[in-house]
């Protein structure tokens, strides 16, 4: 089940990457890494990591709640 979910994550990630790429192409623009200085680069990296953690915790929280409920049910059945 988890494997399927990971596969799906990969596919949706690729699709979104393609959407972003095609949008940039449509506008005839390329993202220019040289416009970002090293300080900003570090800051952006931290921000993205933090946001990713927050987003992951949100999805994990919901799935953990589900698992806990299932565990509790199993225990009561035993």
């Amino acid at each position: 089940m988890s494997n399927n979910n990971e596969d799906f994550q990969n596919i949706s990630g690729r699709i979104i990457d393609m959407i972003v790429g095609s949008t940039l192409k449509k506008h005839g623009v390329k993202l220019d890494p040289s416009r970002i200085d090293p300080e900003q680069r570090e800051e952006i990296k931290k921000i993205v990591e933090d946001l990713r953690k927050s987003a992951d915790s949100l999805t994990k929280k919901t799935s953990e709640e589900d698992n806990n409920e299932e565990d509790n049910k199993d225990e009561t059945n035993k």
């Binding site: 949706s12 220019d32 416009r35 952006i44 990296k45 927050s54």
Partner: protein
């Protein structure tokens, strides 16, 4: 279709008003005031002649639609991520009821933060700010999603009940937004 008595009265009143006006003033034609020809008399409104503000009349084909013929949405096209969660929990004649719901507000806050980060990265890495704006709008518009989540729970005459409701839709949207952000960051070689 016959006229109702109300309509007749109204028509009579209007005619009387026009008659009174005609007695007061000399009949004027619009040709006196401007170069187009029309049949307006007795100080009636002429759309072209009258410079003052007028109320828009839907039945008058000569009047321009207040918003113009085309609505220019481009400037205001922004991310329309419609997420509505309607959750109602009714507990009636019950005791020892434990209710747990997901914090939708937290998810929405995270999503907004991600969207702002996307806009920030695009605006930093593209010199032309107008173009950066339109790219941001474009990317976000393609990912717009409408989700309406309705949950209704009704508990009546119960004891020792635990209710846990989840709003997984919001979590999915957050995941999509973070993937866009990561796609951008990877392109910039930051991650």
């Amino acid at each position: 279709m016959g006229m109702s008595s109300y309509d007749k009265k109204r028509l009579l009143m209007l005619e009387r008003r026009n008659d009174e006006r005609c007695q007061d003033q000399e009949p004027v034609t619009c040709e006196d005031k401007c170069d187009h020809s029309c049949d307006h008399h007795c100080g009636d409104h002429c759309n072209v002649c009258d410079q003052g503000p007028q109320q828009w009349n839907a039945l008058d084909p000569t009047m321009d639609f207040p918003f113009g013929n085309s609505i220019d949405q481009d400037a205001e096209a922004e991310l329309k991520n419609v997420q509505k969660s309607f959750e109602s929990i009714v507990i009636k004649d019950s005791c020892d009821v434990d209710v747990r719901t997901t914090d939708t507000q937290l998810a929405v806050n995270i999503q907004v933060a991600i969207q702002v980060a996307i806009a920030l990265i695009i605006s930093i890495s593209i010199a032309d700010s107008e173009r950066a704006n339109s790219i941001t709008q474009d990317i976000e518009a393609q990912l717009k999603s409408a989700q309406v989540n309705k949950q209704q729970t009704y508990i009546e005459n119960s004891r020792n009940v635990t209710v846990a409701t989840d709003d997984s839709d919001v979590a999915v949207n957050v995941q999509v937004a973070i993937q866009v952000l990561i796609a951008l960051v990877v392109r910039l070689g930051i991650l």
